[in-house]
């Protein structure tokens, strides 16, 4: 109680500090964060830390991952994607889009319409054929829900190229093209419209999402039943009706669309020095156990995940089933009321060494103890860097004892966001894939 009041007091006083600290990281305007007399841009020479030893880069099945401030917030890994009309005979009609978020927490390529040139946008094929569209010719439009909001826009087909790997003629989402009015159900369940944040904005640009989660298509549920705020078919601009969509016509994991190296990915990021790093370059490697650069080590920690990518984290005696390793979450997110907070970020006076144990919710495999560290996010973000391996958010919950079932009910979650990825190779293996004796979906590191 005492801790909470203290924490709350700090939170109330300092919300504006955190907001400016976070925003300042991406703006590059050199704003001074009130309460912290550090410039947002470091005024001293920044010496990049040499990356930890890693195998030579094999560009045949990998692309660089960049973590820098151009994505508009800390710890946002991005890749560059080339999009072409399906079957385009040459590259003249293609567009190369930087700053696409690498997201192990979702499935499919979703690009801001502002990042496409109008000529290309017009040439992308329209996806039709929704299950409940009796005529069968209405464009399919999606309301894609994320923890942080929603994206709205039509499903188009494109050739998606990442480095030297191409997924031909796969459904993607074009966000915010203004072609269709978002239905009330999408707006009311989605909340924040992520489309309003996408595209170029001054020195930053967040152009879309490359979802490389464990599924081949983005919603097995939507293939079977009409889910609210999901897929729609839209005969006209203002009349969209919720629908089922066959898996083959849903937004697709681009990796699953490659001819080879299509069973999963490896995200390999270097370890960071204390205090973070101004920017980071790592690798997104395609395939697991298919080439020398993506072999699953014999001593790898392997966690079977459920259909949505979740496993269980045990922390301070609590088994938290809403647990995932997620490159699209920009910090650790969990509940520990003993750590002071400022806004949503943990801000302990000195670094806290913590530990949790990961295990498959279905009981398979071995529990994996994972040490991690939480530092003072406000102090660190004053440097204006893009990469921090020890920032965490307080993800509160309201546990309640259900007298009718004698169970404690809780929405508690534990998200292992990008800080977890630094200094590791994180393997995301798809459903129905097999790596050695291990069947997907699983995550390994």
């Amino acid at each position: 109680m005492k801790t909470f009041s203290h924490t709350l007091g700090i939170a109330l006083l300092s919300v504006s500090v955190v907001l400016s600290a976070c925003g300042g990281g991406g703006s590059g305007t050199g704003t001074t964060n009130s309460g912290i007399n550090w410039p947002a841009s470091a005024s001293w020479p920044v010496t990049p830390t040499p990356p930890s030893p890693s195998p030579p880069v094999d560009a045949s099945n990998s692309v660089p991952i960049v973590v820098d401030t151009s994505m508009g917030s800390v710890n946002q890994p991005s890749v560059t994607v080339t999009l072409c009309p399906a079957g385009a005979p040459n590259n003249s009609q293609c567009v190369t889009v930087k700053n696409m978020l690498v997201d192990t927490g979702s499935v499919g390529v979703r690009v801001a319409s502002s990042a496409l040139n109008p000529a290309l946008a017009a040439q992308l094929l329209t996806q039709v054929g929704a299950t409940d569209d009796k005529v069968g010719s209405a464009p399919i439009v999606q309301c894609a829900l994320f923890a942080s909001g929603f994206t709205w826009g039509p499903i188009k087909r494109a050739d998606v190229t990442l480095g030297n790997k191409k997924a031909s003629n796969i459904p993607i989402q074009v966000i915010g093209d203004g072609g269709y009015t978002a239905p009330d159900d999408c707006v009311s369940r989605g909340g924040p419209d992520l489309g309003s944040l996408l595209g170029a904005n001054g020195t930053r640009a967040f152009n879309g999402i490359v979802g490389i989660g464990h599924s081949v298509r983005d919603s097995s549920l939507a293939a079977k039943s009409v889910i609210p705020a999901g897929y729609y078919y839209c005969p006209t601009t203002n009349s969209c009706t919720g629908t089922r969509v066959p898996l083959a016509k849903q937004v697709m994991n681009p990796v699953a669309g490659f001819a080879t190296n299509n069973n999963g990915t490896v995200i390999r990021l270097p370890a960071l020095p204390a205090g973070g790093q101004v920017s980071v370059t790592g690798q997104l490697i395609f395939g697991v156990g298919t080439q020398s650069n993506n072999a699953l080590p014999t001593n790898a920690n392997i966690l079977q995940v459920d259909g949505n990518g979740f496993f269980t984290t045990q922390y301070q005696g609590r088994a938290i089933i809403n647990s995932a390793i997620d490159s699209g979450t920009n910090g650790y997110a969990f509940s520990d009321a003993t750590i002071p907070t400022t806004g949503e970020w943990y801000t302990p006076p000195s670094d806290r060494g913590l530990s949790a144990t990961m295990e498959a919710t279905n009981g398979t495999g071995k529990p994996v103890p994972v040490p991690f560290s939480i530092g003072n996010a406000t102090n660190m973000m004053g440097s204006g860097y893009a990469a921090y391996d020890n920032v965490g958010m307080y993800l509160a919950n309201l546990p309640v004892y259900d007298v009718t079932t004698n169970n404690t009910l809780s929405e508690e979650g534990f998200l292992w966001g990008l800080p977890f990825f630094y200094g590791r190779s994180v393997y995301t293996v798809l459903e129905n894939a097999q790596v050695g004796t291990q069947a997907g979906p699983f995550v390994a590191f």
Partner: protein, 163 residues
């Protein structure tokens, strides 16, 4: 334009909702929390009905009661209600998010602006916006979260939250 749309959504959806409104009374059809003793008796005698309606609290203290409901889409929503019948917190868990406009009522714009005021990727949204504390987590297929009005939260629930 956006606000007009939100207002329109609110006007059309609110009367249809079966959930509570944050800062207001619990769902239509649910009785006001009765005395602590009466609700506990009701809870133990209608255990099987608790998942189908919000009329019986699943938990009560002198400071607040908790109601739970499940809808046809598999979304579980819990409402935390003060003795004077005001909802001070809601939680949700399910394959999609519940109708947040219906759930948050006049605080829905706070949720929207919490997410739209700056980039944070696709992951967990945790933010205080005005009176609303919102924590929205999960990923496609499984979402969960809480929304509360810290100003109204009873002290003993804050203490519980520390455990």
């Amino acid at each position: 334009m956006r606000f007009a749309k939100i207002a329109l959504a609110a006007a059309t959806l609110l009367p249809l909702t079966s959930h509570a409104v944050l800062g207001g009374a619990p769902a239509a059809g649910s009785s006001a929390p009765m005395s602590l003793r009466a609700t506990q008796q009701a809870a133990s005698s209608t255990a099987s009905a608790s998942s189908a309606s919000t009329s019986t609290p699943i938990y009560s203290t002198a400071a607040y009661s908790v109601y739970e409901s499940h809808d046809a889409d598999g979304i579980a929503v819990r409402e935390y209600v003060l003795p004077d019948n005001v909802v001070f917190a809601v939680t949700w868990q399910g394959p999609v998010r519940p109708d947040m406009n219906a759930l948050l009522g006049s605080y829905f714009p706070n949720f929207v602006s919490a997410g739209e005021e700056r980039l944070r990727g696709t992951g967990t949204l945790i933010q205080r916006n005005g009176e609303l504390q919102i924590e929205s987590a999960g990923r496609p297929g499984h979402f969960f979260g809480t929304a509360s009005l810290p100003r109204l939260m009873p002290a003993d629930l804050r203490a519980n939250n520390l455990q």
